[in-house]
Symmetry: D2
Subunit: 442 residues, 4 copies
Amino acid sequence: MDVSEFVNNLADSLVSWRRKLHQYPELGWTEYQTTYLIGSELVQLGYEIFVGKEALVTEERMGVPTHETLLAAEERARNQGVPEAWLSKMKDGHTGLVAKLDTGRPGKHITLRFDIDALPIAENKEGLADHLPGLHGFQSRYPHIMHACGHDGHAAIGLGVATFLSAHQEKLTGSFTLLFQPAEEGSRGAKSMVEKGWLDDTDVFLSGHIGISPMEVGEVVASAGGFLATSKVDVVFTGKSAHAGVEPQEGRNALLAAATASLHLHAIPRHSGGETRINVGTLHAGSGRNVIPDHATISLETRGETSELNQYMEDEASRIIQHAAYLHGIEADIQVVGKGVEAANDTGWKEFLEAAITHSDRVTNVMETLPLKASEDVTYMLNHVRERGEKATYFIFGTPLAAGHHHPLFDYEEKVLEVAVEVYVSSILSLLLEEEESNILL
Amino acid sequence: MDVSEFVNNLADSLVSWRRKLHQYPELGWTEYQTTYLIGSELVQLGYEIFVGKEALVTEERMGVPTHETLLAAEERARNQGVPEAWLSKMKDGHTGLVAKLDTGRPGKHITLRFDIDALPIAENKEGLADHLPGLHGFQSRYPHIMHACGHDGHAAIGLGVATFLSAHQEKLTGSFTLLFQPAEEGSRGAKSMVEKGWLDDTDVFLSGHIGISPMEVGEVVASAGGFLATSKVDVVFTGKSAHAGVEPQEGRNALLAAATASLHLHAIPRHSGGETRINVGTLHAGSGRNVIPDHATISLETRGETSELNQYMEDEASRIIQHAAYLHGIEADIQVVGKGVEAANDTGWKEFLEAAITHSDRVTNVMETLPLKASEDVTYMLNHVRERGEKATYFIFGTPLAAGHHHPLFDYEEKVLEVAVEVYVSSILSLLLEEEESNILL
Amino acid sequence: MDVSEFVNNLADSLVSWRRKLHQYPELGWTEYQTTYLIGSELVQLGYEIFVGKEALVTEERMGVPTHETLLAAEERARNQGVPEAWLSKMKDGHTGLVAKLDTGRPGKHITLRFDIDALPIAENKEGLADHLPGLHGFQSRYPHIMHACGHDGHAAIGLGVATFLSAHQEKLTGSFTLLFQPAEEGSRGAKSMVEKGWLDDTDVFLSGHIGISPMEVGEVVASAGGFLATSKVDVVFTGKSAHAGVEPQEGRNALLAAATASLHLHAIPRHSGGETRINVGTLHAGSGRNVIPDHATISLETRGETSELNQYMEDEASRIIQHAAYLHGIEADIQVVGKGVEAANDTGWKEFLEAAITHSDRVTNVMETLPLKASEDVTYMLNHVRERGEKATYFIFGTPLAAGHHHPLFDYEEKVLEVAVEVYVSSILSLLLEEEESNILL
Amino acid sequence: MDVSEFVNNLADSLVSWRRKLHQYPELGWTEYQTTYLIGSELVQLGYEIFVGKEALVTEERMGVPTHETLLAAEERARNQGVPEAWLSKMKDGHTGLVAKLDTGRPGKHITLRFDIDALPIAENKEGLADHLPGLHGFQSRYPHIMHACGHDGHAAIGLGVATFLSAHQEKLTGSFTLLFQPAEEGSRGAKSMVEKGWLDDTDVFLSGHIGISPMEVGEVVASAGGFLATSKVDVVFTGKSAHAGVEPQEGRNALLAAATASLHLHAIPRHSGGETRINVGTLHAGSGRNVIPDHATISLETRGETSELNQYMEDEASRIIQHAAYLHGIEADIQVVGKGVEAANDTGWKEFLEAAITHSDRVTNVMETLPLKASEDVTYMLNHVRERGEKATYFIFGTPLAAGHHHPLFDYEEKVLEVAVEVYVSSILSLLLEEEESNILL
């Protein structure tokens, strides 16, 4: 098996899959087209696939959009040609899928995870010559939705790895589970897959992310850490409207309650135990200039270097919001719509990876770790596997970025897709090989 | 001239005009269809009409929507059949019109004003049996726009009065100017008509409003007062975005600036000189949960029992907003998009009106005055005329209301349209008559 | 009885009493010296006096200082020569007294009220030539306490009236009750005298105030009105201290709770039903720069044109304070330490007074009424009497003021003392006389 | 020279000095008695002493109290017997002193620093059996001032070291400078001594602190680090008073400006570059319940893991305070009254100290370092010496504490005084010895 040559041959497919996905970005829990596109390929490759309620636990999903939003997304997918049988399985926000391949031979059970959702960002429409999707005509076709975090690439990499495993299944041992996870943005989807039990008997778990300036293509972090625990919270304040000129005293001001909450949330005391964060990212309130506002919403997030620190922030936030509402004589409905836990890096992966990719020209440098200072719900998976004493890691696949993650100009060098596939495949081969020889390394 | 009988015959037309207008409500400065509908009738009645820049001073318009909004409204009007010649005159938010009728005989110059714009309110869609527009199928055909303040009725009343004057022009003396004013909501339109000079040589000015619970149809206020002076202010806060997890210190938080401003605006000290009001009616800020918000807007209004009191509020508001922005290290752009002045009632009108409508069965009770505690930019007109020593009044035409002004269920008894036409016409006749006999009364 | 001549002879005594009282000002519920000074005079004049629990209902006193403060004031009074027998009766804040004189002849029962407490203001120490107490050496001898509202004059006037009644008791009819009320500042004392029943069988109630620029000495308001209802509220916030550098998250910030409360109290919506007021007058919080503040106090007041409006303010304030505390995770102890009710003027007094003082050179002008827009707990008395259908009024005795009430430079022309005595005495004589002749006028 | 035996003999003196100082605690820049007590001993021991402007640079003192406060403290010291000659040198807050001893023999110039000021804390008055100062009758004799941070012990240790050096001066080499620094609390005094040049030619600098639970007596930290940079800021807000009932609109509310500032200061964004702190420790505003407050003061502090981070906090704070004032239409006077810089630990001291105290029974354990997470203006001295390439360290002398630093129950085991003297003396001897032998170690 010459991995490098196989990846050479796969290069066009990787780009093709990526660009197709980039044109039809879908937000978390509405990845109907995306799931269908990925699933169709996997079925052709001979995988056993699990979709909808077979793949995740309904009640463990967080931050699911309203029924109306889901219906509209399903209708759009239907119009784009997603078959009714697929829609029926995925309906009401049961997107994402799991694919399994069992070689029938004894060996490790290796699980990989790829996230597939996009962001509510309007893709850049100007200076197209400098923006790859613009230059090559594969920009987002949906207004205000964009793959601005590289999950289009993650899904393409997943298909690349799946292609390799399928092609070489006769020579491999053990079994493989590929998780194509919905709703990573907002830390909403991972837990529902973990709770379905997919990781309960896995021996090794691998996942990763492309990006992180100023790394070059070819540079790889073996085990990223420093994931911040996070909570995503939505609040609806419901007051009472009144004519602002005629009887202001009859109103109950939801706008001011949201303002009070926002100011005081940002004043939660710093914690000497470590880093914390708070942000009220959006506030929308009121219906007209001369009406006491009876409605307001805020969306916020807390973070902490540890889950305990994040919980401190969430608890403080909850009390502040509740009493900011009561102070103004109104009610607040507080919903935790996403939650991510902390995770550290693991050791030993730099040596493992260096050994695994000795023959590779694509990987030029392996770094031991990197503190992300960001949130990713892959941490549910990393922790679940590590708690059972098994191995798990999260790679970073370096690439220059045209602009940072979540930016309308976000873009990366597509060569990174090849690097990622080669790293995953080489790691898998190395893991299987060590099984055969000894159990020392990992 | 039997006024009552004329009004009897006019009743069906009044209802028909009103219901037509109710179905096609248009917001301030976008009354393209409305102006055309009114103008077409007036042309048929033989009036000389002035549209667009002939009717108002471009620069004195306040709170004109964006060019895009105007274009969209013009396109909608075009699709509804408004001729290109009309659209061309009105383009870029030059709506409303002035109609003149000169008897050629010496006599008073009497000016009447009718406002014609609608509100950004979604009309009630439930329990139609109790909602007249629902029951009779003339509900608003435009989502989120509604004649919820009775200006559809005002325009119909104006056409009714115009019909009478046209029909009897051979027996009348003096001349008549009818102002069909755009953009009363938000106190944005009146000044631009005043500045055009329409009231510079008028001898008497009449205007009025239907409504005000719990008055019955037939009850009329001869000269309402207590208009609150008001300022309508829009603010844009521009900060700097940053990733809320990675580098919160790099952001400049526009959401918090808007929150700080809102809280402190509501804490402007009460004024011992009289009633004041403040309301931040809307606040919209931020783009995403994990981004320090770099953009926020608020729309607010101040009011005062006198223009001086309102200016106190506006001045305080301006300072507070500016420094709320600076406090957060950002900039605020403050625009006064509407402004109404105070006005009191005038005396003598109760006796005048009682004398004028002695023969009327429709008017059952004339009240001297009523303190409105609301804002209406007709005050620019009332004050302009009174400052010149001439007479001006503002009637209230009583009617039970299904729900208060600016409410999705707002509605009134259509019989009030007949009362209003009779009051206007009888007043005009009485004014002309007194001219002939003596100049004592008024 | 030549009233004017009697007052001429009384002039020196009035000035002497006033200046003595001015030098020993005492705050509400600590008027130990003041009560003793007044009481001694009244005993000499033959009045039956009621002191301490004989004069008021202990539990109805509001805003009584701490036991320590009372003890210190009693000790100071002891050192100033107040006999132990008096101190014993007054101890624990039972100051003020009631004096009765019964002629034994049938006739009206007339009650007069004079308030006697001073303010926590440091009297001006500069430019003494322009400040009468400085010029004549009778400035406050107590630091930070001053008769800056003229109650020294009120007490002197009371003694003047008492002297007249005593001197002429053989020629008078009916009976007289003189209330020397403690703790008017902060609206704390009147209710405790009312509840003792002193006004239950009175036929006429008279009280008044000196001052109100720009009135001249000789100008008198016959029946002032427009008293604002008011509540005086003290709040203690108790949080938890922590080292601000080492473990800020362990603190519960009472300073911020007080700040949050203060800002939001000033933002209580204006009420369309009439004038309202709010003021947080003092805030004290924290013990050291590097300690999270665990203690804060605020003193505030609300006012309303009516008691209902004031209650609206007090209720809003209470909710806001409570939840401002909870928002910061702490407790608030809210105490209403003073409360005044609304009162209007009464009619008929201008005519009455003009008739009563026809022979007077001192009174030059009688005005019917004046809206005070201030709070005075005499309203408990005015309302109590009027509710029983009896007559009650509150005079204003005009005098130029060196500076406004509650100002360190406050002072008035002492001639006003003579005017006030003459008005009271003339009114009493007129009331008794009308009894004899008829019952028409009042 | 048997150091241990010498310290044995010194034990009673150490306790005696410490208890004397504990009874007469003095706040920063008012250490008149303290300086005199220390100075008298040093003169007797033969030191050349520098007091007042000889010891520090007047203009570099920070946070000097008002002239009135200084005068009162000087008067108190005068009454306690401090001679006029000393008071004259120290007047206007020139406290603290420098003592020099030159052996006349070549050798290192070693400088030691001891801080001597107390805190504005009322010492515990209850449960005296459990509070050493209470048990032995040496509690603070000054209300609201207490040695609650152990500087009484530091000064006693300094005298102990001075006694040793004086006693053995014939056998020592080099020269010694002892800085008895005023006003450490609030980071106000160190800079004024540094700027006087005392450290410009020192070869080694030693200082230290007793305390830090849960260390035992005998445990010593060789080189503490993690000093937070800090700024101490006082703000005076000056507004305009007005009667809260009669004309609230005329006021300019300083209380609300202070409240606005406080809330927003605590909401300064967290910094991803490291730890920061903010605390508004005190707020005092207003004069009376019914007066719009025209005066408010706050005292606050910022901290940062680095001086750059602290500067970020100070800059943000400054802008927020300024515009909180402007928002309310008033002025703010912002004074930086104290400032401490960051400092890290230095390496090599653990080995050095272990070698220096091999013969000691008192020192049981030497720890390399400890991150303080607190501010201490010794950092000016540490940095000044280290920048010149010389050695400097800050010891921690362990002792159980009855309650934390700055607590009314603060107390320590007096045995720690002996440990500290032994550590200083042993270090000095070792430093001098190594000079003689080689210059390798340090």
